[in-house]
């Protein structure tokens, strides 16, 4: 774990101690017992911490700088992954990646938001916040996939759309809207995974899917807790309480019927083992594609339409 999270500190202190004891012990059996004991304690503490995370802590995991990114996952999930670039209109947006490959024997088009792991890469990737051309690239690739009957996988990981002059000027509202409309009518299955942050319209713009999953410590929200706090609570520091109200954790979103299932992460979060995360996602994709294989194009479209059609709560 390269970077530690605040709430993990007691745990890390225990691990430090274990390391120290191991150094001291040097094969000395007297200490072995104590080490085992502390290790057990650490394991227990870890489970405790991770089974009682607040939404705010989960956000920290979701935003962890070492959390697996879409491109790395794509390469772990797919064989022969070949990246495809560009919207054929304006630019290749580095904050959305896409490409084709095989998941086992199935052909897939994989599209995802792309964050960086360091400052330089993050600036290049615009912190995973697309410009309109990113959504347009995604749509172009989805249409390409549809044309050739290739199922679509999307990996969602964005703080949201980019609040910048150029993004507005080039019509991010139009780009997001068009994606929502077009995705709803695509004849191949779309399977989405929120792998980190599912931030508002920027997330949904590649998330109108047949099956929707969230990694255990990911979040999905109409607005960032910080944004919500500064508007509704009139105090940006109340992000904590805003995040509680917004119901953004995988468990909450599952309850609201917006996702199908929660994908378990390795203990301590996805950043502890990219490979494990990739193989869990891969398993899910394979399972789903087998189901979709026996469905007609119309059934696939109808299932997606009906899913979104019934979202919303009201009385009359």
């Amino acid at each position: 774990m390269a970077k530690s999270l605040e709430f993990e500190r007691p745990l890390l202190e225990l691990y430090d101690k274990i390391e120290q004891l191991k150094g001291l012990s040097n094969g000395n059996d007297n200490l072995a017992d104590e080490i085992t004991q502390i290790e057990k304690r650490a394991e227990k503490m870890r489970k405790e911490i991770y089974s009682n995370l607040t939404p705010n802590q989960i956000i920290q995991i979701a935003r962890h700088p070492n959390r697996p990114d879409s491109l790395s996952l794509a390469r772990l999930i797919c064989d022969n992954f070949f990246t495809l670039h560009g919207d054929r209109v304006y630019r290749d947006d580095p904050s959305i990646i896409g490409g084709i490959g095989f998941v086992k024997k199935s052909r897939v088009m994989l599209i995802g938001h792309q964050k960086g792991h360091g400052t330089k890469e993050n600036i290049y990737r615009n912190f995973g916040m697309p410009h309109p051309e990113g959504y347009r690239k995604a749509l172009r690739l989805m249409k390409l996939a549809e044309k050739f009957g290739i199922p679509i996988i999307t990996l969602i990981d964005t703080p949201g759309a980019f609040p910048g002059i150029e993004a507005e000027q080039r019509g991010q509202a139009e780009a997001i809207a068009r994606n929502l409309k077009e995705m709803s009518d695509i004849s191949v299955p779309i399977i989405s995974f929120v792998i980190g942050e599912g931030g508002s319209g920027g997330a949904l713009a590649i998330g109108v899917s047949n099956k929707m999953y969230m990694l255990e410590y990911s979040v999905y929200s109409v607005i960032s807790p910080e944004g919500c706090a500064s508007i509704l609570f009139r105090d940006a520091k109340k992000a904590d309480i805003a995040s509680l109200n917004l119901k953004i954790t995988a468990k909450d979103v599952l309850k609201l019927g917006v996702i199908d299932e929660i994908i378990k992460e390795p203990l301590g979060g996805a950043h502890n083992s990219w490979k494990k995360v990739a193989s869990t996602i891969k398993r899910q994709i394979t399972k789903d594609l087998n189901e979709f294989n026996v469905q007609s194009e119309q059934e696939i479209k109808d299932q997606r339409y009906n899913k979104f059609r019934q979202m919303g709560r009201f009385t009359s």
Binding site: G171, A173, E174, R178, L180, S200, L246, F314
Partner: protein
């Protein structure tokens, strides 16, 4: 996100006397209104007769759904649909006050249950399906009710083959309904996709303001998109951009005319010309044999 702007505007509204005057139009005896753009003092009766547009600078005042019905639809042709759909505080959302209380207040202040009305009507004799958002109800924010009613008026269009016209005016998604408010963007857009595949005309009229999740869904999906002059139309609003990115906003940014220049809308139409423009558009988009 750009609901931030709605709030920004709301705060400005509270501050600026000149704009606050608009509200006073309904108070008997308050006969004069100051134009918030050019400061011209306008006789309120004249203002109403001139479509609530400043006679000096063409500033388009925000108007209520009734006023819009009055200005744009054939007399007594509007028949409201799904009037009784009510919002619910299903998240028990509480910020500075509970969502439930906010709703009750808004409902009491307006005579509406939520931020949109839908119905059938006629424009110069042509049957149309209409949705009119109401910015005066919680900033026209889109929660489950707005999403559902937009979807229903579109579905009704699919049945009747009536063209669908939606007047947007909204600060964006209603945060108090959490992720389900976001999902209304997908739900309404999917309905439009169905309408579109049946080749039934869908026209949007973007009114001040149309921002956030509303602009990034049904507002921007018209076969033809027209805007009232000077309307703020954006995803992320100017205030969010200034705060987040520390970029200086160019003048006229995100206004109707700016969007026209940047290829996002088909035309900007003065409110007084709106009815005949809509009639013209519909009569062209609908093939003769399909006209009813």
């Amino acid at each position: 996100m750009s609901i931030l702007d709605w709030f920004a505007n709301k705060k400005n509204l509270d501050k600026k006397k000149s704009i606050k005057n608009i509200d006073k139009l309904n108070i008997p005896g308050n006969l004069w209104v100051k134009c918030p753009k050019c400061s011209e003092v306008l006789f309120s009766k004249d203002l109403e007769l001139s479509y609530k547009v400043c006679s000096k600078c063409s500033f388009h005042f925000r108007i209520t759904p009734e006023e819009r019905i009055d200005y744009l639809l054939d007399n007594n042709s509007f028949v409201e649909l799904d009037k009784d759909i009510k919002p619910v505080d299903f998240l028990k959302f509480e910020d500075t006050e509970p969502y439930e209380d906010r709703l009750i207040k808004a409902q009491e202040k307006s005579k509406y249950l939520d931020a949109i009305i839908i119905g059938t009507a006629k424009i110069n004799g042509i049957p149309v399906n209409i949705g009119i958002m109401n910015f005066f109800f919680m900033g026209g924010s889109m929660g489950s009710v707005v999403g559902e009613k937009i979807t229903r008026i579109i579905e009704n269009g699919i049945e009747t083959k009536n063209p669908v016209i939606i007047f947007t005016s909204s600060g964006g998604a209603r945060m108090q309904e959490g992720i389900l408010s976001l999902m209304q963007m997908a739900k309404t857009s999917a309905a439009i996709s169905k309408l579109s595949s049946l080749k039934i005309p869908y026209i949007t009229v973007l009114c001040d303001p149309t921002t956030g999740g509303t602009s990034a869904s049904f507002a921007m999906l018209g076969d033809i998109q027209i805007a009232e002059p000077g309307a703020l139309i954006s995803f992320a609003g100017p205030r969010v951009i200034e705060q987040t990115i520390k970029q200086k906003i160019p003048s006229g940014f995100q206004r109707s005319e700016f969007l026209l220049d940047h290829g996002m809308i088909d035309n900007v139409v003065h409110r007084k010309d709106l009815k005949k423009t809509l009639k013209n558009i519909i009569s062209i988009l609908q093939a003769q044999e399909e006209n009813k």
